[in-house]
Amino acid sequence: MIKAVNTLSLILFLLFLTACTEGALNNPYVVDEGMNKVIYSSFSERPKHLDPARAYSSNEYAIIAQVYEPLFQYHYLKRPYQLEPLLAKFMPSVHYYDVKGELLEQSASDKDIAFSEYNIEIKAGTKFQPHPSFTLPLHKELPAIWDGKSLYDLPMATRELTADDFIYQIKRLADPATQSPIAGLMANYIVGFSEYSSKQSALSKQFPALRKTQRLQSERMQGLKKIDDTHFTIRIKGKYPQFINWLAMPFFAPMPWEADEFYANPVLVKKNMTLDWFPVGTGPYFLHENNPNRRMVLVKNPNFHADVYPYEADENMRQQGLLVDAGKTLPLTDKVIFSLEKESIPYWNKFLQGYYDVSGISSDSFDQAVSFSAGGDVGLTDDMVERGIGLQTAVTTSSYYLGFNMLDEVIGGYSDKAKKLRQAISIVVDYEEYISIFQNGRGVVAQSIIPPGIFGHITGEEGVNRIVYEENDSLVRRSADEAAELLTEAGYSHGIDPQTGQPLVLYFDTMDSGPDSKARLNWLRKQFNKLNIKLVIRGTDYNRFQEKMRNGSAQMFMWGWNADYPDPENFLFLLYGKNAKAVYGGENAANYQNAQFDALFEQMSTMENTPKRQEIIKDMLVITQQDVPWLWGFHPKAFSLHHAWYKNSYPNLMANNKTKYINVDAELRKAYQAKWNKPVFWPLVFVLFLLACLVLPAYLIYRRIERAKAL
């Protein structure tokens, strides 16, 4: 009976479905890719920029890092993170020069080094993706028959990558018209960068009609030198070993001049077809469809150079099956479909239906996905296990901290009293509780500025911040009494401000003052209350908050930092005196300035990762733990779920080009999708039946009304 009802309902329903799909009725993809190797992913907000000179956020890198390739990349599986050549043939040789331009020994001291020169050789034979910009006649005129819908309907060509493409991109970084976020930073390092930038600015004012490509190519940047088609050098000021990490970022991906020339066509600009939206790269994929309001599709680049899945990994990784595809040609999939999914609830439901391959875990779905054992170990719920879903966790290379403005008269400063006040606060603000309540346990309490996974992070008891934790026990917080004692020593006995005779009042500036943040802010007030300190929350909008930070008028604030590259310098510079935000406009938002720390920073920043460097970092961490410019906060732990058919997934927090290593078992996905998405029709019939039940009394009343007297 139920079967017959289902069949009938199906026929009825299909009458409405004129646009049928090949897959299940609820399949959100119009074209069923069947057994094709396709990754289904999503994005929650449209990327701002896809130009590698401008893009600087993770949602932008999710796309462009698959299309553009820099000179170097992070090895997918090796830990600690290790750079390896990508478009470069070898790791670069670095030569040092003194102020007169004389070559120095490799062992030369830092103070003698005026310039470092990176000698780079690129792989010969690498080709760009097929693209109409390489069909030179199109620079002058687009064919009349082109309907303007897809660039890939135009005649396409390619060409070989040369050293000029890297040089051209660095010039683009310097060009004020590009508005690269790292232009200011690179001006401090690359020789001639600032001068080139000024010259370009002058040229564009003097000759506004001059084409951008001509303008950029007409001038030479002093620090860049082409040796031949596959060799070039970059000269930077002083010694800056972290520069190589920048060379591994998309900012330094090669850009063909033809792309700039092609996209200058006003017809394309009017259609929003610009270099900022339609990339031209050498990477494993090219952006075939780009509708940032709906979906973006990456397709395998037919010209992709030889690249294979890595062979090297540790035994644990081998056991996880991460070397099954070792030696196979990359990329392992043909297509990646990113669909716009703004809300977490539909995203999560579609993940459970098998229409997305991976998912994060929002707080709404956390209990549905994750369970904790009696011992506190993280695991998946039975439902997730039954579905074959896997869980990956990784402590991110990020720090979320509460900063004290060291320029503030009450909370800042370097006197013993000021230090003790901050130390007392650092004891009572219980970040273990914070992580448990507001992060669903997804995070580790920070003991210092350097997160796990970055050289300089000290694990175990040795790394524990003894200002906050007991001397004898590894992770037992000092008591509130000890904090109160420190507070008394700071001059605020029982939290009373001697000047007013009232509880000490401190101010916390935040952008998150809406209803969603109420619980978090109440929690923070409660922490300060333990010391009888009154915390006043000063809610402010984004603009004013940034302004307060720039002016140094905030007293306390919460902020975060995400690593650009896996070097301690990228975290410790956040406390370097010459980066003080209110003084020098740098990234040191706490305006912390300690001469001893600064001297050690300068020494450490140019060193290789040696035990000596570790010792220096340790000393720096002790200084900052004593001074407490920050409550060190926590390092978030990323939880990621993936389906059984999604292979080779492994957390790599530095690499952005991970997609090429991913493999999918399309057959398994199809089987699961069919199992999880069988349509159910009987409730529809039930609803129709209920409506039919109403018709009878309605008809009876109708008859009664019709037979009644009209007036």
């Binding site: 329903f13 409405f16 479905l17 004129t18 646009a19 299940a24 009725l25 609820n26 959100p28 119009v30 907000e45 701002k48 004020p176 018209a177 508005q179 976020p181 232009a183 200011g184 600015s201 600009v269 009017k270 259609k271 929003n272 610009t274 900022d276 939206w277 509708n291 309001n293 709906r294 669909s339 716009l340 999914e341 703004k342 809300e343 609830i345 539909p346 439901n349 579609k350 459970l352 239906q353 909008d541 603009n543 940034q546 302004e547 650009d564 406009g585 990234e587 998405n677 069988k678 349509p679 029709f681 409730p683 529809l684 109403l694 009394p697 009343i701 009304i705 019709e706 009209a710 007036l711």
Partner: protein, 325 residues
């Protein structure tokens, strides 16, 4: 009528100028060009030189409303207001602060919005009117009480609940439609069934009660009694006479929003992954993109005025007594 239309269209100019000035002042009370630059450039490694460069490249390095450093007409014309806002009167929406052509963006995103809004409006109005007339027909019966009870229940539930529950039951448990997503052309049909259904059901409670009130007022008039006395059935009276005579208030509510339909719905489009214009203005306000904000406010005001004009014209079509002079 032509004179009336021309006169009304001429009124548009001062209204739009006022809207433009108000938008400009409100936007720049909250944001400065420096704030806009920092928002666009991001949080990391942003120097004042980069901010100044951004402003110069985008034309935000001029004074806001009055240029003391210029002479004559240029005191007004060499300002951000003049450069950014006056071109709108020629319907030149220009380039967003993010570097995208605004007209191209709108023309790409308006169709999905319309694909949801038009069927939602048509089915919504038809369903609401039908149910409202039936409630009048079954007046003082348990069907009317039951119907009103359901209407109040439907009104009491948050619109967001309909979306989440609809996606869960129809998209997930019954697996009959995609939970979210969109495809152009005929393929769009599969994706709009659920949002349209939810839109219609979600608006049923308030819609039916509103139309019922209109029809109740109309059904108490003398001509209804005359029609009944002449022997017409109740259904004929309601659907032929009452409905026709209640068209003016119905049109007042509908025609005015017709031109604005393409601007989409923020929540529906967000939950259903519809690539429409619903979030365009809100996103622009969040990202401090003045070029988009001023364009959308201008367009919205203009279309609203056109909607009001169309409403007036539509009155002449449904009621011969109405003349526009």
């Amino acid at each position: 009528m032509i004179n009336y239309i021309i006169r009304r269209l001429l009124y548009v100019l001062p209204v739009l100028l006022g809207v433009n000035i108000l938008t400009f002042v409100l936007f720049f009370v909250v944001n400065t060009p420096d704030d806009m630059a920092r928002m666009q450039l991001g949080d990391k490694h942003v120097s004042q030189a980069a901010v100044d460069n951004w402003k110069q490249q985008r034309g935000y390095d001029l004074p806001l409303l009055w240029n003391d450093g210029a002479l004559g007409f240029e005191q007004a014309s060499k300002t951000i207001f003049f450069k950014k806002s006056m071109s709108l009167f020629a319907f030149d929406l220009g380039i967003s602060d993010n570097g995208r052509d605004i007209v191209a963006d709108i023309s790409q995103r308006m169709w999905p919005s319309l694909a949801i809004a038009i069927p939602s409006l048509i089915f919504g109005v038809l369903t609401n009117i039908t149910f409202a007339l039936l409630l009048i027909f079954y007046r003082s019966t348990f069907l009317e009480f039951g119907g009103l009870f359901i209407c109040i229940a439907l009104m009491s539930i948050s619109g967001l609940f309909y979306i989440i529950a609809g996606q869960y039951f129809i998209g997930k448990l019954l697996a009959l439609t995609p939970i979210s997503g969109y495809a152009p052309g005929l393929d769009a049909f599969r994706f709009i069934i659920l949002p349209v259904l939810i839109g219609v059901v979600g608006g049923l409670g308030s819609g039916v009660r509103w139309y019922r009130t209109l029809f109740l007022e109309e059904s108490a008039k003398d001509y209804v009694r005359t029609a009944k006395a002449k022997g017409l059935s109740d259904l004929q009276v309601l659907f032929k006479h009452v409905l026709k005579n209640a068209m003016i208030p119905i049109l007042t509510g509908i025609v005015v929003i017709l031109p604005l339909l393409f601007m989409g719905s923020l929540i529906t489009e967000s939950f259903f992954g519809i690539p429409g214009l619903g979030s365009y203005t809100i996103d622009a306000i969040s990202s401090q993109d003045f070029a988009i904000v001023r364009s959308m406010v201008f367009l919205g005001s203009f279309l609203y005025i056109i909607g009001l004009l169309l409403t007036d014209i539509s009155y002449t079509l449904v009621d011969p007594r109405v003349r526009l002079d």
